[in-house]
């Protein structure tokens, strides 16, 4: 076996197919993540508030500090790995213009801020939770875009 650098990615079909699988699974992860969050954590402000701080009227206990930190810790790890691989593919296949750079940076900054605002919202100021929801949706939408764009560039775009 000899490892070489691939200059023209589109002409290496096995490599393209492998990356296609990665991108399709990334898309599946993003969709599933929204469904799981809807069920377990809440993606509306009311549902999120109830999960984090409980609701005395409905006899719902607040989430404990340890459970919240477990959730956050897992989220950080998954997000960093998924976004790193997706961004690496995106950088490799996208045109080197300022638009792709903007999308890349916006996505990663949104993801970082979604984690930070969730932690701040839980520990200090619940008014940060709308910001968490906004950044949560923005990093998902931008990741969708990056995945579809990379799929298009790999399979359909003419160079």
């Amino acid at each position: 076996m000899r490892f070489t650098l691939i200059k023209d990615l589109q002409k290496e079909r096995p490599m393209v197919m492998s990356i296609n699988i990665l991108l399709l699974f990334t898309l599946l992860y993003l969709v599933s993540d929204i469904f799981v969050k809807t069920e377990n954590f809440g993606i509306t402000l009311t549902a999120l508030h109830t999960t984090l701080f409980g609701n005395a009227d409905e006899f719902i206990d607040p989430i404990t500090r340890a459970v919240f930190l477990e959730h956050l810790h897992g989220e950080i790890f998954f997000m960093m790995m998924i976004l790193l691989t997706l961004s690496a593919v995106f950088v490799r296949v996208s045109k080197k213009n300022s638009f792709s750079l903007l999308v890349l940076n916006l996505n990663l900054i949104s993801a970082l801020f979604s984690l930070i605002t969730l932690a701040v919202g839980y520990f200090y100021l619940s008014s940060f939770l709308p910001l968490y929801l906004a950044t949560f949706f923005s990093w998902h939408i931008l990741s969708f875009f990056m995945s579809f764009y990379a799929l298009w560039r790999l399979n359909a775009a003419k160079i």
Binding site: L69, H73, M80, M81, A88, L108, L112
Partner: protein, 148 residues
């Protein structure tokens, strides 16, 4: 492209900082940074009505971490190959130290539940070596990205 990859490393470094911070807070919330705290968490405590952890219970907790530690350390440390630090004589020892610390941090609880309480010190030491070592490495990567 080189600049874009550099910015990706920078974001990875920021995510790693969040990961380290959350790991520290989680350790503090669930176990606590004391010899007794670690013993009580794994061997149980009658006064707190907590039961001792079982072999399979610990295995269940560490199973995802075994893969996650390996992947995280590989991704983080392999970036070091692209910095000036790769030629440093201590780089190899640094990698070994982090690998061994991760191993001890994961597997020391098994010895604690077997009654070897002093392994709590190893667990604590390994956790801090891993945290501080990773922080040092993150700083080296950060500096390297900024200088290029």
């Amino acid at each position: 492209m080189q600049q874009r990859y550099n910015s990706l490393v920078l974001y990875f470094v920021l995510f790693s900082l969040l990961l380290l911070g959350s790991a520290y807070l989680l350790f503090d919330a669930k176990i606590g940074f004391s010899y007794n705290g670690i013993l009580h968490y794994y061997q149980g405590d009658k006064t707190l009505f907590t039961s001792a952890k079982s072999f399979s219970g610990i295995l269940k907790i560490i199973l995802p971490h075994i893969f996650a530690f390996g992947l995280f350390l590989m991704v983080l440390l392999h970036f070091g190959v692209f910095t000036a630090f790769r030629k440093h004589p201590l780089f190899r020892y640094f990698i070994y130290t982090l690998g061994i610390a991760a191993f001890v941090e994961l597997f020391s609880p098994f010895f604690i539940i077997l009654g070897l309480g002093f392994f709590a010190y190893f667990k604590l030491l390994a956790f801090f070596v891993l945290e501080v070592g990773t922080l040092i490495f993150i700083w080296l990567l950060f500096r390297s990205v900024l200088t290029h």
